[in-house]
């Protein structure tokens, strides 16, 4: 019997693609349904964009923000969510995995649990639905708001997007931790996540100070959309905030993710000592 050896990083990546391939194949099994679903998600997400568009066609600017600047800010939310959902669908759906017993199945595989959770599922419909909105907004606005797309700006932009995706992953993962104690938090999570996201679609300077603080320190969506777009736009309302925030998106993401991951391992330990049923 051959002895067990761990996986090399290449094998891990290759395996990730094997999973993705199966997910893609599953999606393509129901082409019509999935295309319609992606389109439906696109429509749902476009609602708030269209409302913003209609308001700004009428009023031209709000607190110094013009249409393209606002839509550029908004594009961060969609693109980072698109990256998040592409990579971390499994974390979004973690609750279900605990209840369906998929988690037990993962535990009898010679692979890390978090790896399997992440690799085993990709929601291509949400990825495409959100991604399409984000790309439309980006294409419409990015050439029009005086951004020089230099190498450093591109690097900042990509880092900010990924950082934003990680922040959202950490928020979802925080709620998934509770599943280990068989506490259902999906509704609470959606409530907090999607309402915060609603706020973050507009510049946070529009809101009372308490909401601004919440969006910076508690549910840090300000780092997903507001501060990254301010890095490029430098609107006057940035004076209300510390300049350092402009660079903190990836830091906030990584620190949050790390802390939540620690909690997650505690949860896993609890799970394996209590199980979810007899």
């Amino acid at each position: 019997m051959k002895d067990y050896k761990g996986f090399t990083i290449f094998e891990i990546i290759a395996l990730f693609f094997s999973y993705s391939k199966l997910n893609l194949k599953t999606t393509l099994e129901y082409k019509f349904d999935r295309v319609l679903l992606a389109f439906a998600i696109f429509c749902r997400e476009m609602v708030s964009v269209i409302v913003m568009y209609l308001i700004l066609t009428r009023f031209v600017r709000i607190k110094g923000w013009e249409m393209n600047e606002m839509l550029f800010l908004y594009s961060f939310l969609f693109l980072s969510y698109c990256i998040f959902v592409f990579i971390f669908t499994g974390i979004r759906d973690f609750d279900g995995m605990v209840y369906s017993g998929d988690l037990d199945r993962f535990l009898i595989r010679p692979l890390g649990l978090m790896y399997q959770v992440i690799a085993s599922r990709v929601d291509y419909c949400a990825t495409i639905g959100h991604g399409a909105v984000g790309i439309i907004l980006f294409i419409k606005t990015s050439g029009d708001i005086g951004i020089q797309w230099t190498a450093s700006n591109i690097a900042y932009y990509l880092t900010a997007l990924i950082g934003g995706a990680i922040i959202q992953a950490a928020l979802f993962m925080l709620s998934s931790c509770f599943s280990f104690w068989t506490i259902r938090t999906t509704n609470l999570r959606n409530l907090i996540f999607f309402n915060s996201r609603r706020f973050a679609g507009y510049p946070i300077s529009f809101y009372p100070v308490i909401i601004q603080k919440l969006l910076i320190f508690v549910v840090p969506f300000a780092f997903v959309s507001f501060f990254p777009s301010q890095y490029f736009l430098r609107k006057t309302d940035m004076n209300m905030f510390w300049d350092g925030y402009l660079y903190l998106t990836p830091v906030v993401g990584v620190v949050m993710f790390f802390l939540v991951y620690k909690l997650w391992t505690v949860g896993l330990k609890n799970y394996s000592s209590s199980g979810n049923s007899m």
Partner: protein
């Protein structure tokens, strides 16, 4: 017979109580949505330096009314789909009870639940926070109430058409979501229609969508001239009838399909 439907409504009311988290989510979502939107409109009017002006007060009242109505107009979108996919629909049709009235009673039950348990707390909080314009006049308030009921029925009949599609489509989440998106934009739920470009406004007036939220709220706020209120309400009645008829035809086709295929 009426008793049976009342029982259904009661059951639906009780089902709503069971999902505690959804209950709180419903209240908080409504309050947050009102809060976000009012913040945005406040920012808009700060620019124009007329915050505190009549315009802004009307917008605030419009948004509060709209989100409160949206809350209670939320319906059980997957009730029929659930019966169809599980196959229970066949036995539903054999019961000595109209299935369509059953679905309607169920929705009325949750409407009552939302009105009592969600609308009231959300209304108290938002009115305390943002204030509320009184109705334009006593008679307009009466018309408003009539128009709200008609608005609900327009949306219900529109929804029913989508729900019935579950007889042909395996799952209707996508259609429901697209319908929701259309309603959100075109019914004036998120932005008063008078802020829309003229061509779009003219177009929407030809659709049933403005009958859902825009007409009742405009009547409350006195934004529709008294002589036009009557025609607006007639238009609502007409849409209830037209959509109801379409739903009826589809329902006949759906049940026929079920009989042909043997459930």
């Amino acid at each position: 017979m009426i008793r049976a439907y009342l029982e259904v409504a009661k059951k639906s009311f009780q089902n709503n109580i069971t999902y505690r988290m959804d209950y709180f989510a419903g209240v908080i979502n409504t309050i947050v949505m009102i809060f976000v939107n009012i913040s945005i409109w406040k920012a808009i009017y700060e620019e124009e330096e007329v915050v505190g002006g009549v315009q802004f007060k009307i917008i605030m009242a419009y948004l509060v009314l709209s989100f409160l109505l949206q809350n209670i107009f939320t319906m059980e979108d997957y009730l029929i789909e659930g019966r169809v996919t599980t196959g229970l629909i066949s036995s539903d049709l054999l019961k000595p009870m109209s299935f369509r009235l059953y679905v309607f009673s169920y929705n009325i039950g949750s409407l009552v639940f939302k009105a009592v348990m969600q609308l009231l707390p959300a209304m108290i909080v938002t009115v305390a926070l943002f204030g509320m314009l009184p109705p334009f006049s006593a008679s307009m308030f009466i018309y408003f109430l009539i128009s709200v009921v008609l608005g609900y029925l327009v949306l219900y009949n529109l929804n029913f058409i989508i729900w019935i599609s579950s007889f042909w489509f395996y799952f209707t989440f996508s259609l429901v979501t697209i319908k929701d998106a259309a309603v959100m934009i075109l019914s004036g739920a998120l932005i008063p229609l008078w802020f829309m470009p003229q061509w779009l406004y003219e177009f929407i007036k030809l659709t049933p969508f403005d009958s859902i939220f825009f007409v009742p709220i405009s009547i409350y706020l006195g934004q529709i001239p008294a002589e036009e209120v009557f025609t607006s309400i007639i238009k609502q009645v007409a849409w209830v009838a037209v959509l109801g008829l379409v739903g009826h035809i589809l329902w006949k086709a759906a049940t026929k399909k079920l009989v042909v295929q043997g459930g």
